[in-house]
Subunit: 321 residues, 2 copies
């Protein structure tokens, strides 16, 4: 990670990490300080959080969500966790253990929602039932439950652990298609609207290498594996393409994402509002929707009626992608 003999930019102690984008090395202490500073900068610039917010952090058991929960608690925010049991076999079982262990060790509150127990389906079964990629059913489920659990628990803000690599890759995908509607919505803060909580992404100024290093330095155990169902999806291809660019030109990835927020997002303001006008309440669950029944309730109806499909079957059959 760092050449022997490298010194921390701040204190000249032996460095533990090099950050080519900042053209500098850091010791453990000053690396953590840099991470905190980047998170505070994101929170302040985009008006993400106030001191009296009641925060719900969406937690997967991976590095990003545990890092953001850790950072927010350390910064003094009152933040509980929300874990969604997606039923993706061993992957979900292990990820839940990491999330629980993190919460228990720190005396934090973790809300758990299990798709199979509470809604009668899981992501692999939903993928088979809807004949779509698993990431589609997974996204619909998480978005809905993040919203409904935040509102149910009286939380004022929902936090996700999306990092700079995530946001840059999504931006790259939307840019390759010049999907103006999606581009206009790609902001690190979505304000609260009728039936939707405020949603924020405090890690947008940190790369995934940095959030991993945060966890390692802070002694946080996290699930390293990527979701087995995501392997080969386009999001990962976009990340790889941007990483090659970053390799050649350190800082290019941050300039791409943060430059978008500074230079382009203001020009697109208002172009994402179209879909919001015709919202009404889902006749099943009451969530805001453009149709009679919301996407989540339609997914539940279809998937819960289907025989359970273990993730191994889906992976073995090569039905994914």
């Amino acid at each position: 990670m760092v050449a022997v003999g490298s010194k921390c930019r701040t204190c000249k102690a032996p460095a533990i990490i090099d950050l080519p984008r900042h053209n500098a090395h850091f010791c453990a202490e000053h690396f953590l300080e840099l991470c905190r500073r980047q998170v505070v900068k994101a929170i302040e610039k985009f008006d993400m959080l106030r001191a009296d917010d009641k925060v719900l952090v969406a937690v997967s058991g991976g590095k990003d969500s545990l890092a953001v929960w850790d950072l927010l608690v350390e910064l003094g925010y009152q933040a509980d966790g929300l874990y969604i049991g997606l039923g993706i076999g061993e992957y979900s079982a292990t990820s839940a253990e990491y999330a629980r262990a993190f919460a228990q060790e720190r005396g934090l509150k973790l809300i758990e929602v299990k798709l199979r127990e509470e809604y009668g389906y899981d992501v692999p079964t939903a993928a088979r039932a809807t004949k779509r990629v698993p990431c589609s059913a997974c996204g619909i489920s998480k978005r809905h439950l993040f919203d409904s659990e935040a509102l149910k628990g009286g939380y004022t803000v929902l936090v996700t652990g999306h990092n700079l690599d995530d946001e840059a890759a999504v931006l790259f995908g939307n840019t390759l298609r010049w999907d103006v509607e999606y581009l206009a919505r790609q902001l690190p803060v979505l304000p609260a609207r009728d039936g939707f909580p405020k949603k924020v992404k405090p890690l947008v100024r940190l790369t995934e290498r940095e959030t991993a290093a945060w966890c390692i330095v802070r002694g946080i155990d996290y699930l390293v594996d990527e979701c087995p169902m995501a392997v080969g999806n386009k999001h990962l291809a976009y990340k790889a393409a941007l990483n090659e660019i970053e390799q050649e030109s350190p800082g290019a990835k941050a300039n791409f994402y943060l430059g978008f927020l500074d230079n382009m997002a203001p020009l697109l303001a208002g172009r994402s509002a179209a879909a919001v006008d015709g919202l009404r309440s889902c006749s099943v669950c009451g969530a805001p929707t453009t149709g009679e029944v919301c996407t989540f309730c339609r997914l539940v109806e279809k998937s819960a009626a289907h025989d359970p499909v273990p993730v191994e079957v889906l992976l073995r059959k090569g039905r994914i992608r």
Copy 2:
């Protein structure tokens, strides 16, 4: 290039090329037809050329510029060629031969301008004299001479051979930086303005693989080598990144560039005009410029005063990049 036994989409004859982006194979005849159709489509959609235009084609001796010249003559346009002798050693000597041979065999008029003979410098020397990358001096020289030769010869349009890969790579670079001013200017047609001729890029709907195949099928000899001074520049890295995306998702590159023209360019219209207002005439050559002396004349002054630097010296010293 194509699997044995593949058939032309149009006539079912044995195919000579597969075009994954069109999800089809073509025989020689119908491949040429497809290329002509794409060029006509670009010309018509962007109002590039009229039947009575007097066209000057910027010719490098490479596949793109010879293909576009060939295509325009074949489509019935009155088109002469312009070759700039950049003085990049053997590379320039060979490229000139290809350009001359093409013109001679077809009885076409080729105007030649040699930087060393007419302006007392060449690109390698200019790179050394200005202490900048050679691509910078090369671009300044070509842009200026394209404009001035077009106006001098009474041409109504200047054509360049930029293909889809070129334009997509430049767009990618401008997008990585969200350079709104440059993005707003990235159109396949720049209208004539005081002192600038109209400039058009009829090949924007053809990839470089397609322009190479055009030349091969049409029996056009062209210089295959990339310019030795461009090796390792960012433009080539952007092309490589887009090619990987294209490999995964055929058509992604065309969607990226053509989708930009359809969806984003209209939103940026007018944002590139800022720099045009304060133009006056260069006190040396009379070309439009924002300063007292234009960039080209400043380059000439600096470079012509410098001892000639052979390209081999520049390449050997690893001073490039």
